[in-house]
């Protein structure tokens, strides 16, 4: 299964730049195409397309979302077993295992190392066998934006 690009595409290339699988190709200002075998259904293309020109694997049109509002993983360390499945599941490599232990002792833990590159796909959350990760709206960033907007 794969996401697809509709005739609404104006060839801006935003989807191609965000795709972590290198699945999208196309010339500037010309309709782009998603390679079925490479698409991993992370949905990033749908979230960036200003034209609403992307359909998900079920054929439903994707809505553009401001990147600052994309969901981010929240890791509950109490239930996390540090197995590293989430880190491997992440297609952009924004999660990492700590190089220092948590609190006292020697236990390692995963953390969101590079929030800016996170595409909010939620694969980390889906693949975590311990269900220790939930995808949430980034509260902090939102507050900052809100403050800016109200100012």
């Amino acid at each position: 299964m794969s996401y697809t690009i509709t005739e609404k595409c104006n060839g801006c290339g935003a989807c191609m730049r965000v795709c972590p699988a290198g699945a999208i190709s196309g010339e500037k200002k010309k309709p782009h195409k998603i390679e079925v075998n490479l698409c991993i259904e992370c949905g990033a293309c749908g979230r960036v397309c200003p034209q609403g020109g992307i359909l998900d694997a079920e054929g439903v049109s994707c809505a553009m979302i401001k990147r600052s509002e994309w969901l981010k993983p929240e890791i509950t360390l109490e239930t996390c077993l540090a197995c590293g499945i989430c880190i491997d599941a992440c297609p952009v490599g924004c999660l990492a295992m700590s190089e220092q232990p948590r609190d006292k002792g020697v236990d390692a833990y995963p953390y969101l190392k590079d929030a800016k590159t996170c595409i909010g796909c939620g694969f980390c959350s889906v693949e975590c066998p311990a269900d220790a990760i939930v995808m949430q709206k980034p509260v902090k960033t939102q507050n900052v934006t809100d403050a800016k907007e109200s100012a």
Binding site: D88, D107, A108, A130, D131
Partner: protein, 651 residues
């Protein structure tokens, strides 16, 4: 997406740079799983009989596991396969880290290399495109430097498998390194990569890995995690208590069948090093090149490798992919290197007790040095111990050793010797291919000082203490292997709880009964081999499997991941098929199974006069015969019978 395997392999011909993607049919996975099973299937069918292990016809395969990435725990192991230049037969090496899922994320279950490149190259796979790149600038760099350079270029997410200088110099005891110090070390397959001029494999894929029933996978994983975290009072004990427990196990005539929960507690607290002192005390660790015992290496010597002392250097735990336990650790070290992966039990004893070396700092240093060089710590330590014995007996003199005073426990000389082995300098060149090759070159009775099985130095588990080790060292298609079966392993796997017809060990028994040869022992050994072949096809970690078959749901994970409805017995048949195919590979390539029996010293043909294994002799010949019969292999020659091959569908 809902299959747990990718259904494709990549075949790279290094001679002409061609790359062929091949689809693998479902029936192959149903018969052999993926991982080592798929590797055996490809190598058996495609490698011409008598192929030179260091020639273009040898095929080197990087194989992931069927369960890797499916939501199961303890399933992040990958297997390196090829014809071993060390033993001349089937070779494989198993490794954790993060490389196993990386293979599948590139869309393949395995990547194979044949041919020989004319100049150093590495394979780079990204977004469904594989290319060979020039590796001239990387050639000569150690494994960690190479990995760092490649990750700087391609990003931290890329998984990298490399050879170090040992592999480049075609040392027959070299391996392939990942994750800055995890190493697929056995069978000498680093030499195959080196001779092919393949410096590294860099994988940067993002493909998703499926499972037939993800919800069921998760439920099973939760069950497994419950047992992984099962609280045990043992975890509160200090390392010294482990040593005393070892002493107790040495003196007691009666022992109890062990439950894997004990071992998982040791692994969780200390890692494999939790056994350091205990093994010396109970007669599990060979000492002084298999001639010594706990009498030569008493508590006051072994306390320098007390697991609590090793643990003090640990900064943070290291988990391989999908491991909820985390037996590894990243340690601080003194001297040239700042960090190292926590030295494993095998490395500590091979570089320590086997050479009578008591200096822990030197063990840390050599551990990192050898990981970077891409040389097997077990074989390096064992070959050093062999050289020391030759020197002590006058077979080697100061003139041969370039002036090194190769005496038991001479730390400085041991370090210098191993550094020379990696550089292939002077005496190091002689020893860089392991003890069997070196002994043949030295002559003068040096062969008497070697301990090997078919050319492979066995691991630090004495088969005179647990006869099961001697069976598997001797009968496995990959001789000298310690990660398949033993009396102890059978107890911990608890297979009889899931597989019909397997004998249940008695909870309390006389130690001497381990040495009695009977059908139940043969059944137990065969079951271990079948189960670990299955496990290596699935990408499972043996330490995880030690939890016991009801607590780590291997069979159920396999069914939930694939949608098959196989019984545990049917899965054991898959293991049997993989094991038989490896044996058939050996026969095809002219190996006489009998020639792989472990050296008589380790069998106890001249029994030890003191220590835990005093008076013990293990009749490998008789045990092998019983084992072969269990598999339908000829009980005199160990060669699979035609009817057996037919029954298993091996052509």
């Amino acid at each position: 997406m809902n299959k747990p395997y990718m259904g494709k392999i990549l075949m790279v011909d290094l001679s002409n740079g061609t790359m062929t993607e091949e689809a693998i049919t479902d029936s192959v996975y149903e018969q052999y799983l993926s991982g080592m099973g798929l590797g055996a299937y490809i190598l058996f069918n495609r490698m011409p009989a008598g192929a030179d292990p260091l020639g273009p016809d040898n095929i080197l395969g990087f194989c992931s596991g069927l369960l890797t990435g499916t939501g199961s725990y303890f399933s992040g192991r990958w297997t390196l396969v090829g014809k071993s230049p060390l033993t001349g037969g089937w070779g494989d090496a198993n490794c954790g880290g993060t490389f196993s899922p990386a293979i599948k994320r590139c869309g393949y279950d395995a990547i194979f290399f044949k041919g020989i490149s004319s100049n150093p190259v590495y394979l780079y796979v990204k977004n469904g495109k594989a290319t060979l790149q020039d590796a001239t600038a990387l050639w000569g760099q150690d494994a960690v430097e190479t990995e760092e350079a490649l990750k700087k270029q391609y990003g931290q997410k890329a998984a990298v498998a490399v050879i170090g200088p040992a592999g480049e110099k075609v040392s027959l005891i070299s391996g392939v390194c990942t994750d800055k110090g995890r190493i697929a070390a056995r069978s000498g397959l680093g030499a195959v990569m080196g001779v092919k001029k393949l410096k590294a494999v860099v994988l940067d894929g993002v493909q998703r890995i499926g499972a037939h029933d993800p919800a069921a996978m998760k439920k099973l994983s939760r069950h497994c995690a419950k047992w992984t975290n099962f609280p045990m009072p043992l975890s509160l004990l200090p390392g010294t208590m482990m040593a005393l427990m070892g002493t107790f196990l040495r003196v007691t005539p009666v022992i109890f069948a062990q439950d894997g929960l004990l071992y998982k507690t040791i692994l969780k607290k200390w890692g494999t090093g939790g056994m350091n002192q205990m093994s010396v005390e109970m007669g599990d660790s060979p000492l002084k090149n298999w001639n010594g015992s706990n009498v030569d290496f008493p508590l006051k010597k072994s306390r320098k490798i007390d697991p609590d002392i090793v643990k003090k250097a640990e900064i943070v735990k290291y988990h391989c992919y999908s491991c909820p336990l985390g037996c590894g650790g990243i340690c601080a070290t003194k001297g040239k290197y700042s960090h190292t992966h926590k030295p494993e039990y095998e490395s500590v004893l091979a570089l320590g007790g086997l050479c009578m070396n008591e200096d822990l700092d030197s063990i840390f240093y050599l551990n990192e040095f050898l990981n970077r060089a891409g040389m097997d710590t077990i074989s390096a330590g064992a070959t050093a111990a062999f050289a020391i014995e030759c020197y002590e007996k006058g077979i080697l003199t100061k003139k041969d050793t370039d002036g090194l005073e190769l005496k038991w426990g001479n730390t400085g000389a041991i370090i210098a010797l191993i550094e020379k082995m990696v550089k292939r300098e002077g005496i190091g060149d002689l020893l860089a291919d392991g003890s069997k090759v070196a002994a043949a070159k030295i002559g003068r009775g040096a062969e008497e000082c070697t301990v090997h099985a078919g050319g492979q130095e066995p691991a630090m588990h004495d088969g005179r203490g647990d006869p099961g080790f001697n069976v598997h060292y001797s009968v496995e298609p990959t001789p000298g292997r310690h990660t398949i079966g033993a009396h102890l392993y059978y107890e911990m796997f608890q297979l009889w709880k899931r597989v019909k017809g397997l004998p249940k060990p008695t909870p309390l028994f006389m130690k001497g009964s381990k040495y009695k040869i009977n059908k139940e022992k043969a059944q137990a050994s065969a079951a271990c081999s079948k189960f670990m072949s299955l496990g290596n096809g699935a990408g499972m970690c043996m330490f995880g499997l030690f939890l016991g078959s009801k607590r780590i749901p291997t069979f159920d994970w396999l069914n939930a991941a694939t949608g098959w409805k196989f019984t545990p017995e049917e899965y054991m048949t898959i293991g049997e098929r993989i094991q038989t195919m490896k044996q058939a590979f050996n026969v095809k390539h002219g190996i006489e199974p009998k020639n792989n029996f472990i050296s008589s010293r380790a069998q106890g043909k001249i029994p030890q006069k003191e220590g835990a294994n005093k008076g013990r002799f293990v009749d490998v010949e008789k045990l092998a015969s019983g084992y072969w019969e269990q598999f339908g292999w000829d009980k005199n020659t160990g060669k699979p019978k035609d009817e057996t091959l037919r029954k298993l569908g091996i052509k």
